[in-house]
Structures are given as C-alpha cells and as structure tokens.
Assembly symmetry: C2
Homo-oligomer: 199 residues x 2
C-alpha cells in the first residue's frame, strides 16, 4: 500500500496523478489517493505563497522542467494564471469522490484542466463543468462538498500529512517512509515491493 | 558536451560526481566539470545558509533521501558536521586540478571524504591528506590554489552559473538548457544526445 498525498495547486502533482495508476499497477502496489492542502503547511514554515514564487530563479526553472517532464510523458501542458490556483474546492469535491467511486477520475480531470489547459480550477463554474463532463449532476455533489464531515476529512488529511513530515507535493508514504516528488514515485514503489515481500 | 556545475558543500553533488563519468560514457556524451560556489548565489536570493537549514522539515527529509540514494548506488554515506561544510579551498584546488589532469579524481576524493566519511573538507589539513593520497606533494598545489588566476577562475565560474540561471547543485547545462539535481542527469544526457544528433 502506498499513500499518494497530492495538492491541486501543485505543479508536479499533475504528472504524478496522470501516471501513478499505470506504474503502480505494473509494480503490483495498491495506491490510496490522499488529497490535502499545502497552504497550512507552508504557513507553518513561514511561507505565505508557493516557494516557486518566493525564489523566482527556481520558479522559472520549475516551469521549464515541468514542460519537459510533460513532453516526455506526452501530457499537454499550459501554465495557469495566476499561480498557485486555489485548490480548496477541488480538494473537498475530491473527498466526496473518494466516498464514492469517481475520486481518481475527478482528480485527473482537475489536473488536466489546470495544467493541461490552463483553466481556473478555483472557480466553482470550472468544477461544475468537470463534474458534468464526468456525467454527474453538480448540485448534490457541491452540497456534500460543503458538509462538515468532508471539511473535517480534508483537514484531517492535511494534519496527517504534516505529522508525516510532508512539506511539498506530490509525496508518497509507504510504512511511514516518505518520498517527495514525481521523480521519486518509482523508488517509492520499489520500497513498497520490498516491504510487502518481507512481511 | 554537458557542463556539470557542482559545489563541494552540496549533498546531491556527491552521488552525481561519483556516477557521472560512467553514465556519460555509456551515453557517449563528453562532460566538462565546473566547480563553483553556491554561497554568493544563495546570498543574492536572500538566503544566508543552505535552504535545508532554513526549512528544517525539508532538511530532515533531504538527509533521509540522500541516505537512500547512496544506498541504491552502493555509496558509503556519513553526514558531515557542521553542514554545510566550507567548500572554498576544495573548489580552488579543484580548479588547479583541472589545469592539469587530476581534477576529477580530486573532486571524487573530496566528496568521498565529506559525505562518505563525514570529514571536515573545509580544513586545509584534510585537503592536504587527500592530495597526498592521490600521490601529490601538497605545498605547490596549495600555493597555486591561492594564485589570483585560480581565484578569478572560480569567481568567473560562479558568475557564469548565475547567468545560466543556476540556483542549486548539481546542475547540468547543455546548449544553455538547464537541468537541476542528481535525478535529472539521465534526462540531461538524453537532451545532449538529441542536440548532438541534430547538429
């Protein structure tokens, strides 16, 4: 079992979300999708926005590196403005999706809209369109997204991420062992295979 | 041709330095070793020490991740105290080595001492021992390391790194295209192969 912690505003969570199903299936490792919020974790470290906006040279590089990563994976890429987008509503809706059976499809749809087409995923209208595109009636889902249980579940996931030492996204956790970054997914899966074969 | 920018205080420059020769040779790409200093670049970004010391949660993760990376590569690992070490003298001596033919061997010896055995590579006595271990008489080399030409060469390499948009180490530059991190070495080599085959 591998826990996949991701945040909708996070750039490198996009390629991770788009490819994790296939690489994990090939590795024979089950994945649990864990949408959380980076904002409170950044704030606790004294960061008021994405580190990529604070350290602009690193930020410029990140966009170039992400474009190359998407190109190698055959994923469309378009930078959303502004960055970071507000991922709160998407994260709440995702938690609704994971109560049912459409969480993963919704998450991939959000990432494609945001980083494949540069859409404003913080806007409720965009989330509505994505839900319609998946064949759903948005109203009851959005109502459920604002229920206290769902808000609590997102908060609890974020608190768990912080306890696990997570400071960025995507992050993968296997047996308490933390792996950070899309480029660590394969290593996390190898670790999961070793843990499982020794238990 | 791939330019390999590295700093002796940089943790991930250790695995990169230890493996770059073999992977670049297999890829058929020539490598130019470029020792530079990160300190002035961090200062220009308002950072007074390593980001891993400023963001302690990320720093804790980095040491764990580095230990795993070294384990996968079969490299010894021991964390040097304090971190970061002062890499100035080692960088100057490395520039002397690249005037002659022993630069790469010296760089690998420094990284092994620092991150393989936790030695204080900022101490002149440690650098002397490494030079003796390579079969050299340290005095003339250290005298040359303090010559104005060598100091200027290190300063010029650091300024070039800054102009290229480098903000961390190791960094790989092919045809002005920047790749940051030990985990981007293979991608940088693929890029170099494409550039060369199209010229």
């Amino acid at each position: 079992m591998l826990d996949f912690f991701f945040e909708f505003a996070s750039t490198y969570s996009y390629p991770a979300a788009m490819r994790i199903d296939e690489v994990a299936r090939r590795a024979g490792v089950a994945v649990r999708w864990r949408p959380f919020l980076l904002g409170p974790i950044f704030k606790a470290q004294g960061l008021e926005t994405s580190p990529f906006n604070i350290y602009t040279t690193k930020g410029r590089y990140m966009w170039r590196d992400l474009a190359r990563t998407c190109e190698e994976l055959g994923l469309p890429f378009r930078r959303p403005e502004p960055f970071p987008q507000n991922g709160l509503l998407a994260a709440r809706v995702a938690h609704v999706g994971f109560e049912q059976d459409w969480g993963e499809a919704f998450c991939r749809a959000v990432y494609q809209a945001e980083f494949g087409h540069g859409q404003q995923i913080g806007e409720e209208s965009v989330i509505r369109e994505l839900l319609v595109g998946l064949g759903f009636t948005p109203d009851p889902i959005l109502a459920r997204a604002h229920a206290p249980e769902i808000k609590d579940r997102l908060r609890a996931t974020t608190e768990e991420a912080e306890r696990l030492g997570i400071f960025g996204a995507p992050s993968f956790v296997v047996n308490g062992e933390l792996f950070w970054g899309n480029d660590r997914l394969e290593q996390a899966l190898r670790y999961a295979q070793r843990v499982h074969s020794s238990t």
